[in-house]
Symmetry: C2
Subunit: 339 residues, 2 copies
């Protein structure tokens, strides 16, 4: 069997409580005995029992990460993985572990209640995919330390953190303006794709600030497939004047459009510039590689980790909102018109 604090105490000739204090670097113990205790602990290869420690300190040093992980999650929602990596990294640095748990939004309420009341974890990181009004109510009622990834679409007192898709749209438009483009088109996703709408909103804001605007006939909708990108190309060709630059709501649209343009002998970016959002899955593989507005989800994960630990320490901290900053990755599908 492995040795306990008791063995160390005997070996060092002190009491168990002194050992505990010494090894936890409590200030109230003399340097001399502290040293003696540590030597004894080393000699015995003493390792504190985490289960006993959790029991005594009434903490698990663990945070649950809850999400509705879809089939083929790495492709359906690659951001989720980066967020988790970020969360795990921060928690790890602070001595906490991250427990990954799949839940759908229905099970999640009963699971959270049980996990919390049974003291299985100290706090939660919730992905929006498991959030609901009822869960929100439970969290408030029980005062559960938490952070939500994604802004809840209902009134709440939750702590949440989200990316700013509107700002992403602004950045995309601003980049094009800086390069000297003035005449744009936007190819969006489905009608219910809120991210696409927010990005469009940001684009419009940027244009307005510069005294420009985006007429309705320059905004196309699509189903976000490669084929939709190709279809959009035909519509773009009919526009008069033809737009100088196209903002695509996502990668598949952009790739489909680009392939169709090139098949027609239209060069990117010389004849028509192109910008989209997110690095993956295609943007870097194309020829030329795409200019994109990217979001560092790892960063957001780290921030989420920090926030949940903060709630742990100061449960009364005010409702938090935090917005991560998207960044522009300028590659080959946009070029300056000013040289």
């Amino acid at each position: 069997m492995s040795s306990t604090i008791r063995d160390v105490a005997i070996k060092a000739g002190v009491s168990r409580s002194t050992v505990s204090k010494a090894l936890n670097n409590s200030g109230v113990v003399s340097e001399e005995t502290k040293c003696r205790v540590k030597q004894a602990a080393d000699a015995l290869g003493y390792q504190p029992n985490a289960r006993a420690r959790n029991f005594a300190t009434r903490a698990t040093y663990q945070i649950a990460f809850l999400a509705d992980f879809p089939f083929d999650a790495a492709f359906v929602n690659p951001h989720l993985f980066e967020i988790m990596r970020g969360v795990q990294h921060t928690l790890d640095k602070k001595g906490y572990a991250m427990v990954m748990k799949h839940q759908d939004d229905k099970q999640s309420i009963s699971f959270v209640e049980q996990a919390w009341l049974q003291h299985m974890v100290d706090g939660f990181v919730f992905h929006m995919s498991v959030m609901s009004k009822r869960l929100s109510a439970l969290i408030s009622k029980e005062n559960i330390p938490h952070i939500v990834i994604g802004k809840p679409n209902f009134n709440n007192r939750l702590c949440w953190i989200d990316t700013d898709n509107c700002l992403s749209g602004e950045l995309a438009a601003r980049h094009l303006l800086e390069q000297g483009y003035t005449d744009f088109a936007y190819i969006g996703g489905r009608a219910e794709d809120m991210i696409s709408w927010r990005r469009l909103h940001g684009v419009r804001q940027s244009l307005q600030e510069n005294g420009l605007n985006l007429p309705h006939d320059r905004v196309l909708q699509s189903q976000s497939t490669l084929a939709d990108g190709a279809r959009a190309m035909k519509k773009l060709m009919r526009m008069n004047p033809r737009p100088q630059a196209v903002i695509c709501a996502n990668n598949p649209i952009a790739l489909g459009l680009m392939q169709a343009l090139q098949a027609k002998g239209i060069h990117v970016p010389e004849d028509m510039a192109l910008i989209t959002f997110d690095t993956y899955p295609f943007s870097m593989f194309t020829e030329p590689p795409m200019t994109v507005v990217d979001i560092n989800m790892y960063d957001m994960g780290q921030e989420a980790g920090r926030l949940v630990l903060q709630k742990l320490k100061h449960p009364a901290t005010q409702i938090q909102t935090y917005i991560t900053i998207p960044t522009l990755v300028c590659r080959g599908t946009t070029a300056s018109l000013r040289k």
Copy 2:
């Protein structure tokens, strides 16, 4: 404060040990008192304290999942995510939680030692990316319940599970043969890409079984980029006779090749068939969608979860090896020549 087993005991008018037995459905307690205890527990909203339970039972009901999660892991190694999902699912069903932990192969030894000796988890799932001889030695010495994802490339007594890339290659070739193709080419990855070599090996085996073979000049190497696929196209065109079907070691090569072929006016699959491995990232987006040999990593994750729990129960179980079965997804880039 929440109520404890003691409160339930008082309320039900029995001893604490009886409550424990009753709630854990021990057979030795009468149905009547069992019922009474459960009513009392419900009335009080009693929830057992997991920390105390872990302490008393000397278990954490947690398994650590260790891997060297790369930057942009969802894209660099999407399989990892599916494996984790599978592991988590199995563990969850059995009342275990999965702790995700990033480690590189150097840190991992000291981390595992500490986590194990401090009783932080009951067992480990190791991805090959964190495995090393020294870690292997530690695991054997301490008799740590574990399963390794991926066959270690050194002598060992570890429990591991891996996919059979050779079998994947066989399946790809067999499918082409069944469709009536007899003249193949193979476009592989880099010289150090073992997966590509194993797949090629499987292809050759399949051909030999059918009295065919793959001459060396029909095997091309590449860097696994889209551009490499396009370059390969030119070499294929120079071959005489021109191969009927091309097996691409991975998605990027296949997409690059297909685009180049189509740009030349060569139709897939009519003029040249094409098969590759893995569904993602491109195979379903192309026109026509690609026929691929896919591997269900979620399955393997589930199996890994099962195995580590088995080791937990029966630490003496023999060294395990398990091979998951790849499956053929027949889509549009191959067609029967026999009709």
